[in-house]
Assembly symmetry: D2
């Protein structure tokens, strides 16, 4: 289980202690998610990670990936906390919508969805 | 609580049913997070969301924000599931590291961190 | 005038000298453009640059902006060179398409385009 | 040659005609570059373009790539025009800096630069 309430509270206190809540507008948090996503992507800019998951088993690269993934997730949780979005509910709704959009019989084994 | 194991299982089945696991390399999932982060950011490309959270209370824009946020989170969960990353642990570690990096006494009320 | 042929040749030689052409696939260059765009965006993650252009007149921030903008443009030029795309022609075509899409009489003074 | 002055003038008139100059702050244009970079990246989200340049020779995908590349370049030109940045000069400076940073004898044939 991911205790997102605990994480949201830690982030809320973190911002309050530094008086940083003023900077946490919708636009700035969306920007922050994008910036951190770019930092994760940079780790895969060239040949790394094109084939399989063993390529990222080295502890030093693994640590960097974990840190970038955490940065993204923390901003997602912070955004949802400020906007009062129920992440579990919206994720389950999205998976159901995707299942309807990409019926198994039409999309099996094809990246047609992906490339069209 | 966010039941990320449940969501990870749903995503695993979703990919297995369509034989899409082959496309879920580290690089492709990092790319997908970035693409979805760009779609969230697009909603704030111009004047929306610069000031406060009431600006996104309109149901139609709220729905789109929820959908984009879900897309990002689902790819983060999928990545962590494939890489066997404990998201709760790495998030708590990252918050502790940030607290050490930005001591309250030096950064209170300042976006110096932010802009330097 | 921007001598993009000169820049493309410099980049071609740069890659050839280091045998890096092998890494310059369409996907990797598109990834690189996105990574560099994220680095430019990071400079505006919080309060900087929300209002006007005087905010970026400080020489140190200006230098960083110039460097990130150059990184983006160089990867765009490299991509176009590899794909044999005529940048001038596609830019003029795109401006004409935008003019048709956003008629002056319907969009004057409004960020409706932007936010809808 | 890329007539970036001509394109900058077209963009300036385009914005003036619609009274959109007010939206063209440094932060918003940096955001726009990132959003458009994400749209280009989306075309390479899965298997497309991992290997070579023939993969993008199909006219329909080529057209979409050209459009996204144009969107990115136009925002780069608009940003440089507003900030009075000499793109040719900063690009040549950046290539020279990269040549010093990655000496041929140390980096030939290696994506060490890339992955470290």
């Amino acid at each position: 289980m991911l205790d997102n309430q605990k994480l949201a509270t830690l982030l809320r206190n973190f911002a309050a202690d530094r008086d940083w809540d003023q900077f946490h507008t919708p636009k700035n948090l969306a920007t922050s998610i994008s910036v951190e996503a770019g930092e994760l992507l940079e780790l895969f800019q060239w040949s790394r990670g094109q084939k399989d998951w063993n390529e990222i088993s080295d502890p030093s690269i693994r640590l960097r990936i974990e840190d970038e993934l955490a940065d993204i997730l923390l901003y997602v949780i912070r955004f949802a906390d400020k906007a009062k979005i129920d992440l579990q509910a919206v994720c389950e709704r999205k998976i159901a919508a995707n299942a309807a959009k990409y019926p198994v019989e039409n999309f099996r084994g094809s990246d047609r969805k992906y490339n069209e």
